[in-house]
Every structure is written in structure tokens, then in C-alpha cells.
């Protein structure tokens, strides 16, 4: 599958919702508006594009810029041996984006990790809780305004209520 054809098809289908398509260091990047994420995901997962694998999902905090957050998805197509990076900018205030759990099962943990580290809310996620940190942890450690050496108070032993 040629990347050019894929990008043309995407542009035809979603026209003005595709913000930008670029290439950097040999990687193909597509920037979309956050509200069409699930449609794009469903579109890419189907044949002939066949991006059957969600390789990775993460977030970048561009503090001091608006839109502040940027969700980064890496899709991989086994049949075409092709990687694609899809990015969706999110506002700094109440960042919400649709969950990809209906399409890829590993999105469950990946989205929980991003929620844990950045505080992005995934709409439609079945069980959005912190993954690595404990429930009482305050703040979102991978945000740029979280100090590197900040200490959190020691929590008391949990007991059955």
C-alpha cells in the first residue's frame, strides 16, 4: 500500500478534518482533529489499509502552547508492513478524547497509562483508573508542570471499610 494513496483516501473521506500530513525522518505523520479519531481508527483498521495492530499510544505535553496536549498513535499494518503515526491535538483545559478500546484491546492499559501520567480522559473506556501510580497520588507526573523531585505524602495502609 502506497502511503500517498492512503493519505489521498483519508483526505477524500475526512476532507477538512485532516489538519496536516507530513513526513519526518522517514516516518509518515497524519495530524487529525480529535473528534474524528474513532472514525479514522475504524477506517484504517478495515481492509485494504489493514492496520491491524495498535503499536503504541502516548501523549506529549507541549506546555505553554495551545492546544497543549497531543495524542500520538502508532498503527502498524502486518500485511503491508507499514507504520503510520496519527496525532490528535487536545486542549489544555479538560482534555477529552474517544477511547480506542472497542477496536484494540491493548488500548485499555495504554489509555490507563496516559490517564495516569497526563490526566487525559478517554470517553468510553470501560475502567479508567490509574495504572502505575496508586489511587491517592495527586497530579499527573509526566506533565511538564509536575516538578521532577516532588514528593508525595506517604499514604496510610488501606483497610477494608
Amino acid at each position: 500500500m502506497e502511503t500517498k494513496k492512503l493519505i489521498d483516501d483519508l483526505k477524500r473521506k475526512f476532507s477538512n478534518k485532516i489538519v496536516e500530513t507530513t513526513q519526518q525522518f522517514g516516518d509518515d505523520i497524519i495530524v487529525i482533529q480529535a473528534d474524528i479519531l474513532t472514525d479514522v481508527a475504524a477506517f484504517l483498521k478495515e481492509k485494504p489499509y489493514d492496520f491491524a495492530m495498535l503499536l503504541d499510544l502516548t501523549c506529549v505535553d507541549y506546555r505553554g502552547r495551545e492546544p497543549r496536549f497531543e495524542m500520538v498513535y502508532h498503527f502498524f499494518s502486518l500485511s503491508h508492513n507499514q507504520r503510520l503515526r496519527v496525532k490528535a491535538p487536545l486542549p489544555g483545559k479538560d482534555p477529552v478524547i474517544a477511547s480506542l478500546t472497542p477496536y484494540w484491546k491493548n488500548a485499555d492499559w495504554l489509555e490507563r497509562e496516559v490517564y495516569d501520567m497526563f490526566g487525559i480522559i478517554f470517553e468510553g473506556h470501560p475502567d479508567l483508573r490509574r495504572l502505575f501510580m496508586y489511587d491517592e497520588f495527586e497530579g499527573y507526573p509526566l506533565r511538564k508542570d509536575y516538578p521532577l523531585r516532588k514528593r508525595q505524602p506517604i499514604i496510610r495502609m488501606r483497610s477494608e471499610e
Binding site: 505523520i29 491491524a52 491517592e136
Partner: protein, 444 residues
């Protein structure tokens, strides 16, 4: 007040709830599995991770590109060289650095040795927990030999930091091939012995056949990579799909499983180790002859050289610290790229010339070291348990703006709940062993 976890909400009050871990002899690494049991049958479970979370990504974002390398050793601590290689090659992709051929071949050898060590450890743990203690000892004996080779080359067994941006830290030891031959012979023998002990062993087959079957569709849907994906019969290996280093010039096969059960995950790893040995042997044959003379203990002390160079340019040989053996100036063209400001300048120059001293300071000074262009990059290598990817966002300074690791076992452990559902408590142990969960890599 804490929120209830999923299983606490879903579980039937009649059923027995059991915690496995986080400190449990079979939960190597710290992970907690909450089980809802009916007798010995697992009805439902929940996996809790994060006990080894130490903020790898946040730490890296506050270190320079050169200084964060040792942190990558501590990801998958059984195969640190592959982690080094993954990070370094991501940086090289961003900086556009070409590495010398010898360095590339050394990297291939080191990565494959690490892969063998990784598979040996994974299988050793898995088999031991099923009661095959002899097999465990055999595996560990082979791993010991492999780590001897790694120690001889890199100076460390686990925290290697050997593969550097632009090449490798030091040239191979003069006795390298001899030591390697010994390790390969021992590993071959161990693999043969273990095959004889396990492949048709009734107990082993009963414990692993048809347990935790993962269909190809499920495996792909969960983002499985590496031996676990190939055990389900899906052909995908980063070394074949996106060849890096000199893998495209080496003959090797990608073994596949049939069913995707625990036995297949064991069998695929066994076959992969044989292929890795093949790769190592081919790569050793490809090594170009070194033009540099052997390291010698002769020469003048560095302090004397520094003093003498104040008067006139010092041309005598300098005796470097034993820690720098193999990275003398004459070897630089073999093992490190010539790209300016990406590799540490030779120590001999730093001691005796003002230009060398300036470039040394420029390399290590805050805000001056390796500064890749603005942009973002993703690159992956085939790690011990799957595709090990690095996603780095650069803002043009000497620190990564964002560094994210795609940990292969994260995706596999995410499927553990589904894999153990409906099986017995005793089956959790080999299933968990076959995922090869490494806490350092998954929790980051």
C-alpha cells in the same frame, strides 16, 4: 477512601478471592494478580502493575541524550544491550549518523547474545516453576557462559551501557572469539540436552499443551510482538520486516508456532536461540580485521602527558586507564562514527591538545552536547520479548522533550487476564512465565 477495582465490583461474594503477589516466589518481578476462584478454577482475574514504576520517562526527559543511556540498561535488565541498541539507533536515525561496519557487526553479535540470555532466563524461570529444576540449572549454566562473553567485551554483566551513539564503546577483546566459541558450544549442548529432557516429556506437555491458547487474531489485537506473537503463528519479526544493522545480509529463519499455547511459546524461544547462534556465527565471520595494534600497557602516564604537552605537542603513546581498554584513538575509525559532536573525542587528544580538550568540554557541557534537529522519531528493534520501540520528541536542545518507550511485555501482560481465564491456579505460573514479564521494562 480508595475506589474499588474492577474485580472487587464484579466478584461474586460466594467465590473465593485470592491475591497472588506482589511478593510471591512465582511472580518474578513484582506484579499482583487478584483472582476470583471457584475451587481451583480461575473465574476472573485482575492484574495490577506498577510496583516497579520508577519514572524512567520523566527521568530521561531531564537528562542529556548522552547521560540517559545507563537508564536504558535498567529496562529489560536481562538483555540490556538490546535496549542500548534500540535507544542509540533511534538517536542515530534522528541525527542521520552512519556507523562503521565493524561497530554494526559487533552490535549484531551483542544483541543476539543478549537475546539468547533473555530467552534462557525466561525459559529457566518458566521451567523451574513447573518443577524442572535440572533444566533451570542447565539454562543458567549456558547464560553464565554468554554473560562471560558480554562481561569480557563490555566490562559488565548487566549494566553494560556499551552501545553508544555513533558506534560502540570499545573494540572487541583479543580473546573474544575463543570465549565466544566456548559459549556457543556450551549453549548448543544445553539446548540439545533440554530438548531431550522437555520436548516430549509427559509432565511438561501436560502442563503446557493447550494452556492459555492465544489465537492469531487476539495476539495481533493485543499488540503482541516477538516470540509470543510468533508462537501464535503470525510472521512478524522486526529484523526481517524493517531490517536494521546488517541483518539483511545474514541468513536466519523466523520460527513460528502452531497453536499459540504455552508449549509453543517455549518451542519458539528454543528455536529462536538456535537461530541466534547461527546469526552470531555468521556475524563473527563477517568481522573485518582490525588495523589497530593490540592494546598495550606501555606508554607514559596521562598526568605526564598533560604536563609535557604544555611545552610541545606530545606524540608519545599514552597509557590509558584499564577502563578505556579497546577505545584507544587508533581504534576509533573501527568502532565509532566520525560525525562531529556526536561521539566522545579520543582521550589521547583530550590530554594533549587544546582542540581535543575543547571538544571534550563541548561534548559534556550542559546545553552543548548532542543536539538533534527539532522533530519526532520512532524506531524499533527486535527485543528479547518483542518490538522494543523508542519514540523521541526533540525540541533542538540537548535533552529529549519527550521520550516514550514501547515496552513489548506491557502489551503481552495486558492480555494475561484473558489468557488465564478458565484455567487452574497452577496454570497461571507457566502462563505468566511464558509472557516473560520484566518489571523494569513494563513499569518503566
Amino acid at each position: 477512601m480508595t475506589t474499588k477495582t474492577r474485580i472487587q465490583k464484579e466478584a461474586d461474594k460466594e467465590n473465593l478471592m485470592i491475591n497472588m503477589g506482589p511478593s510471591h516466589p512465582a511472580m518474578h518481578g513484582t506484579i499482583r494478580i487478584m483472582l476470583e476462584l471457584d475451587g481451583e478454577k480461575v473465574l476472573n482475574s485482575e492484574v495490577e502493575v506498577g510496583y516497579l514504576h520508577r519514572g524512567f520517562e520523566k527521568t530521561c526527559e531531564n537528562r542529556t541524550y548522552f547521560n540517559l543511556l545507563p537508564y536504558t540498561d535498567r529496562l529489560n535488565y536481562v538483555s540490556p544491550l538490546i535496549n542500548n541498541c534500540g535507544y542509540v539507533m533511534t538517536m542515530e536515525k534522528m541525527l542521520g549518523i552512519e556507523t562503521p561496519e565493524k561497530a554494526q557487526i559487533i552490535r549484531v553479535i551483542m544483541c543476539e547474545l543478549s537475546r539468547i540470555a533473555d530467552h534462557l532466563t525466561a525459559l529457566a524461570a518458566m521451567t523451574m516453576e513447573c518443577g524442572a529444576f535440572t533444566v533451570f540449572l542447565y539454562y543458567i549454566q549456558a547464560r553464565e557462559e554468554i554473560w562471560n562473553v558480554i562481561e569480557q567485551t563490555t566490562g559488565a554483566r548487566m549494566t553494560t551501557s556499551y552501545i553508544r551513539i555513533g558506534g560502540v564503546r570499545a573494540d572487541l577483546h583479543p580473546d573474544f572469539e575463543e570465549q565466544l566459541k566456548k559459549a556457543v558450544t556450551v549453549t548448543r549442548k544445553v539446548l540439545k540436552d533440554v530438548k531431550g529432557l522437555l520436548d516430549k516429556n509427559k509432565i511438561w506437555m501436560d502442563r503446557t499443551r493447550n494452556v492459555a491458547v492465544v489465537s492469531p487474531e487476539t495476539a495481533v489485537n493485543y499488540g503482541f510482538t516477538g516470540p509470543c506473537l510468533r508462537a501464535s503463528g503470525v510472521y512478524y519479526d522486526v529484523r526481517k520486516a524493517h531490517p536494521y544493522l546488517v541483518y539483511d545480509r545474514i541468513n536466519f529463519e523466523v520460527p513460528l508456532g502452531e497453536k499459540g499455547d504455552n508449549y509453543d511459546r517455549y518451542a519458539v524461544r528454543m528455536k529462536e536461540m538456535e537461530q541466534s547462534l547461527r546469526i552470531v556465527e555468521q556475524a563473527v565471520g563477517m568481522l573485518p580485521k582490525s588495523r589497530a595494534p593490540l592494546s598495550s600497557k606501555e606508554g607514559i602516564e596521562p598526568a605526564e602527558a598533560v604536563k609535557a604537552s604544555r611545552e610541545k605537542r606530545e606524540t608519545r603513546k599514552i597509557r590509558l586507564s584499564p577502563n578505556l581498554e579497546g577505545s584507544e584513538k587508533e581504534r576509533y575509525s573501527d568502532i565509532l562514527s566520525r560525525t562531529a559532536n556526536a561521539v566522545v573525542p579520543p582521550k589521547e587528544d583530550t590530554y594533549t591538545t587544546i582542540e581535543g580538550l575543547i571538544s571534550h568540554f563541548k561534548f559534556f557541557m550542559k546545553g552543548h552536547g548532542i543536539r538533534p534537529p527539532k522533530g519526532e522519531v520512532y524506531f524499533s528493534v527486535e527485543g528479547g520479548s518483542g518490538e522494543l520501540g523508542f519514540y523521541i520528541v526533540s525540541d533542538g536542545t540537548d535533552k529529549p522533550y519527550r521520550l516514550h518507550l514501547r515496552a513489548p511485555c506491557f502489551h503481552i501482560v495486558a492480555a494475561l487476564e484473558e489468557m488465564i481465564k478458565g484455567h487452574y491456579v497452577a496454570d497461571i505460573i507457566p502462563t505468566f512465565g511464558s509472557t516473560n514479564m520484566i518489571g523494569g521494562e513494563m513499569d518503566r
